[in-house]
Structure formats: structure tokens, C-alpha cells
Amino acid sequence: MQTTVGTNTLTLVQAVTDGMRTMLREKEEVLVMGEDVGKNGGVFRATDGLQAEFGEDRVIDTPLSEAGFTGAAIGMAINGFLPIVEIQFLGFVYPAYEQIMTHASRIRARTMGHYSVPMVIRAPYGAGVRAPEIHSDSVEALFTHMPGIKVVCPSSPYDAKGLLIASIEDPDPVLFMEPMRNYRSSREEVPEDKYTVEIGKGKRLAEGEDVTVIAWGAMVPVAEKAVKQMEGKGVYCDLIDLRTLYPLDQDLIAESVQKTGRTVIVQEAHATSGVANDVISVINDTSFLYQKAPIERVTGFDTPVPFFAYEDHYLPTPERVIKSIEKVISF
């Protein structure tokens, strides 16, 4: 038996659309909900064409009501549907935080599996696109500290589609973070058909013996540039794209750090209580004796994400990553 698998050259945001379309076609229970997701196709066009194809009943423009529609989606999810909820920007998830924290993530545990919430919350996140304030938050750690939800964050078109489909098929709630800055920054061949990328698994993007560089989402291209430049200087890094932030890929992290003994973590979010510190704790737990230098974190500051005139200062740059790579090497 032979199948020819076609591919399309897609941007990350197109791959997200493709993932939703694939699942809307496959399962009648899949719904897309949120502000402006219908006729408008989303403020980033992530849902472009979906309402035209699947109708107003399956691609639903909701009121401006994050708690209301996330809560309603929970009600739909416990009653047989598979809602994909779009939060227009991650910085507007806060009004829905109570619904996610006390309900979406806990209902299965509370009811010993009697009810569950197979819901995906999609949210563009991050700075670097000159958006107005509050539109640029990257607060994944508010969800990795929330038992009962998985947190996924692709950096490439291929992973975006595969992880989104895996998230939709996951029987539990998933926060699916989409790096705005990567939405249209590159294209990749993406299979036309359905496929999944496993949740909980990172990916090694470059192989090296000297330093482990760990990044996710919008920081992957930043780390990648740094790693490339270091190759020019004869320093070879393992570059790991975490892809899932909860649960972390402990094995991949440990394996790499045990090889290199030196780690740089690149995180867009505020330094304190960020996911980088979870990575540090994984290394502490698994690889203490292998460490040859203190772990370096290149992160956003403990300041609000600044207005866009200053956001380039806030965002980790390849230069800052390089500085940290050099630091762990010369330690």
C-alpha cells in the first residue's frame, strides 16, 4: 500500500490554521470559539476561512468575554465537544484565569475522571511585533504552576500543526502558546495530512559537545542565531527546543547537560519564577555532578514587558545569548 503525502509550504500561523482545519474536518465535535475568529478570521488570520468552510455553528464569534466563553467552552467540553478557544493575545487571558485554574484544570481530578475538559486554549504571545502594551506578555509560568493543564509552545510551522493536532486530541486541557514573532517569519514544508508531534518531547535542533542551549517559542530563532555564530568560533552547542513547557522533557535536558556540563537557558518571560528555573531544577535533580559551570539564564527582566519603543531592550538577543555561552565556557 502506498500513499503519496503532499506538503504545503506554510508559515507558522498558516500551519495553525491548517491544524484546526484538519481537525474540524475530522471530528464534528471540534469547535473554534473566540473573539473575531469568525468572519474576520482572527486578528492574525489564524482562523481565516474556517467559518466559511464549517459554518457559524462550529466557528463561533463570541462576546468579548474571556471568562464567559472559556467557561462556556468548559461546559461544552464536559458535554461532548472539543472546543478550541482562542484568547486574542495571551495578555488577555487573565480574566479567564479563574475558569482555567479552578475548573478546566481541576475537573478531572475533582471528579476522579468522571468529567474531563478536552479543550485547547490557543493564545498568541510575546513581544517583538510592535504591538500596544499588554499585547506582549509571555506568562507561560502562570500555567506550568497550574496542575492539570499542559503547556505547549511550538517554534516552527511543522511543530505547530503537529502539536496543535496532538493538543486537540489530548484528553486534557492544553494551553497552546503561539509565538507571534514567529507567525510569519519563516516557512516550512508541512504535510497536508493529519500528523501529530508528541506533547512532552523537546527537539534537538543542533548537536554539540560544548554547551547546552535551551529555548522555546520565539526564543528559538534567537538561540539558533547565537549557536550558529558560536560555531564560527569553534564552539558547538546542543540546541534544544523544549516545545512543551509542562511536562518538561527531563530526559532530553539531562542527556544533553550530562554531555556538555554547561547550560544556557533563553527565556522571554520575566526572570523570577519563570520556566527557566524549572529547567534549572531539572538539572539540579538529574545532573548535579555533571555541571561544570553555573547555569546561565538569558531572560526578560523583572519588569512589565515594556512599551514597544523599548521592547528590543527587553527581549533576549543573539548577542546576549552569545555572551552567556562564552561565560559558561570560560567559567
Binding site: G71, G75, R108
Partner: protein, 356 residues
């Protein structure tokens, strides 16, 4: 607004009919059932308080005084409908068919208390106030989308109307035309906060105006009124006419929970006065006597019956195997993440070494 949303009553405080009853809806059987259910839940409630005092269950939220509201509304449901209660609505859930043992287990701090009987759609009590109103809107919408005529009801208190989720739930439901009834029990207090500090409006029913949905204010201690209006709202929902907001004006006689001391914030004499004049169970009794439906023997019978049922439930609850530590870990996700697996393994090993 009080004129626009007058308090609907069928039986007055003396047990007199003030309006013609819908005989087809409110048959003699229904009335007997109402009485029986109210006695049943009141007996349960008192028993639960004494269990708490004896340390056999944890903090408990009593509802005595609100029986007509809870029984009248829950009796209007079909078994295939959805019920979203708060912590004070187990009078409604047990009327709907919830297991008494399970309810007690909930108040004993165990997850088993969140699992409804097979086939019944009862959500675990919503503790964060008003958060379940959007759930009810969504679950009801899902029924509509499946093409059934099942509906959902969400129970909530007067205080709950101040939360954003009340507003968002009703707005979303009204836009989606969800078949849902928002059933408010206005017992005049949110813990210690009296309604006039909770809201500026004189009624809760008038809050329906914001969503252009029907709003109804009923005497929540008059079970005939509650049942009749609840049936109307449910009919509308089943017929595709969308949500209704019902305000059932009532009173809790006792404390907010067994951890609360109401004498701190109100004259308990007022509760006693209300009991004397407005009690929902006594009121139906008066009516039944007038209507020739009263039978002492039958009453004695049901009282014995429900007491036995409750004793049995307590026994069942207390015979449950001890709380199982695995419950903490095994249901967070369908398949546990490595983090939880490892934490469980470490903890269980620690317990087994007995050094816990």
C-alpha cells in the same frame, strides 16, 4: 422595578391559594412528592449539622429554610437534564436523584463526593462563586447542538450576582440562546453581607433586563410558585426560547456554614420570626390540610422512611474504605505526566517506609 418584577405567589403565608393552580401540572401526587422531598432534605440537613458537630464530617453548609426553592426547582427537571449546584444546593441535587452517601462524602472532604450517580448529569458543587454559570450556558448549548431538548439549570445565591461570571454567563447564554435556567436563591445574605450592601437594585429578577431574557421573581418559600415558574422557564428553554433568570426569595435560618456564627451579623430572632410565618414546609402543610391532602399516618411514614434512608447513607459513607492516597495523583491527567508519576512513587515509597 419592584412593580415590574412583583413577587409571584400561589400560596400565601396562611396556606391559602391566591391563584388558580394548574391542575395538570400540579397534581396531588406532585404535591405529596413536594412535601415528602422537603421533609427529606430538611431531615438530611439537620442530621448533617449534627454529624459535623460530632466530627463525623467536615464544615457543612446548611440550607434549612430554602427547601421550597430547592425542591420545587429540582422536581421540575427531567433526568436527562444538567444540574450545576453550589455548596448549598444538595437539597436540590438529592431531589434530582443524587446519592445521599455521595453528598455526605463530599462534605467529608473526599473526591468520591464529586461523582454523580450513573447517568445523572450533576456537576460537583461550585465553590468559587458564580463560576459555574458559564459552564451551564455551555453544557446547555451542547445539548442544543446535539439536537436534544435537554436543558441545564445553574443554582446560585444573591451574593453570586456581584461576580463577573454571573454577568458573563448570562450574557453568553443569552447570545447563544442556550437552554438554561439561572435559578437564584436570594436568601438575603452572602455570609454576613446583607443584600442592600451587595447591590443597589431591589430585585435580582430585574438583572434579566440586561440580557433581554425573561426574569421572574417568585416567593421562594412557596413551592407551588417555584415549581410553576420553573416549569415555565424550562418549557421555554426546551422550546428553543433561551435562558430565564428566576429569583426565588427565601431565607436561611441557620449559619452560612457550620464554621460561621450568624449572631455576629444579624438578629437570629428574625430567622425565628420567619420560621413562624413563612416556613416553606409548614406552608405546604397548611395548604395540604385545606386541600384535603393531609394524612397524618402518611406523614409519619415518610418521616420514618427518610430518617432510615439517611441513617443508611451515613452508614454507607462511614463504611467507605479509608481515603486512598492514589486519588491525589491518579486523576490529574488521563495519563500521568512523569512529574506526577515520580512524585507519587517517591511519596508512596516514603509512606511504605513508614516514616510518613
Amino acid at each position: 422595578m419592584e412593580e415590574q418584577f412583583p413577587m409571584i405567589q400561589w400560596i400565601d403565608e396562611k396556606g391559602n391559594l391566591v391563584k388558580e393552580i394548574d391542575q395538570e401540572l400540579i397534581t396531588e401526587d406532585v404535591i405529596r412528592n413536594m412535601y415528602r422531598n422537603m421533609v427529606r432534605i430538611r431531615t438530611f440537613d439537620r442530621k448533617a449539622i449534627s454529624l459535623q458537630r460530632q466530627g463525623r464530617i467536615g464544615t457543612y453548609a446548611p440550607f434549612e429554610g430554602q427547601e421550597a426553592a430547592q425542591v420545587g426547582s429540582a422536581m421540575s427537571l427531567r433526568k436527562t437534564d444538567w444540574l450545576f449546584p453550589t455548596y448549598r444546593d444538595h437539597g436540590a441535587t438529592m431531589t434530582f436523584g443524587h446519592s445521599l452517601k455521595t453528598i455526605l462524602t463530599y462534605w467529608n472532604g473526599r473526591n468520591e463526593g464529586c461523582v454523580p450517580p450513573e447517568g445523572l448529569h450533576i456537576f460537583p458543587p461550585s465553590v468559587p462563586i458564580a463560576t459555574h454559570l458559564p459552564h451551564a450556558a455551555g453544557a446547555a448549548y451542547a445539548e442544543k447542538r446535539k439536537g436534544t431538548d435537554n436543558i441545564a439549570v445553574a443554582y446560585f445565591g444573591d451574593g453570586a450576582t456581584s461576580e463577573g461570571d454571573f454577568h458573563e454567563g448570562l450574557n453568553v447564554a443569552s447570545v447563544l440562546k442556550s437552554p438554561v435556567v439561572f435559578f437564584n436563591q436570594n436568601n438575603n445574605y452572602a455570609i454576613s453581607v446583607p443584600i442592600h450592601k451587595q447591590m443597589n437594585s431591589k430585585t435580582i429578577a430585574q438583572k434579566s433586563v440586561s440580557y433581554d431574557i425573561p426574569g421572574v421573581r417568585v416567593d421562594g418559600n412557596d413551592i407551588i410558585a417555584v415549581y410553576t415558574e420553573m416549569n415555565r422557564a424550562i418549557d421555554r428553554a426546551r422550546n428553543g426560547e433561551g435562558p430565564t433568570l428566576i429569583e426565588a426569595v427565601t431565607w436561611r435560618y441557620g449559619a452560612h456554614t457550620t464554621a460561621d456564627d450568624p449572631t455576629k451579623y444579624r438578629e437570629q430572632q428574625e430567622s425565628e420570626d420567619r420560621r413562624a410565618s413563612k416556613d416553606p414546609v409548614a406552608r405546604l402543610e397548611l395548604y395540604m390540610k385545606q386541600a384535603g391532602l393531609w394524612d397524618e399516618e402518611w406523614v409519619t411514614g415518610i418521616k420514618e422512611e427518610v430518617a432510615q434512608e439517611i441513617d443508611l447513607a451515613i452508614e454507607d459513607m462511614e463504611n467507605l474504605p479509608p481515603a486512598d492516597v492514589n486519588v491525589i495523583f491518579d486523576y490529574v491527567f488521563e495519563s500521568p505526566t512523569w512529574t506526577i508519576e515520580k512524585q507519587k512513587k517517591d511519596y508512596v515509597a516514603h509512606m511504605e517506609r513508614g516514616d510518613q
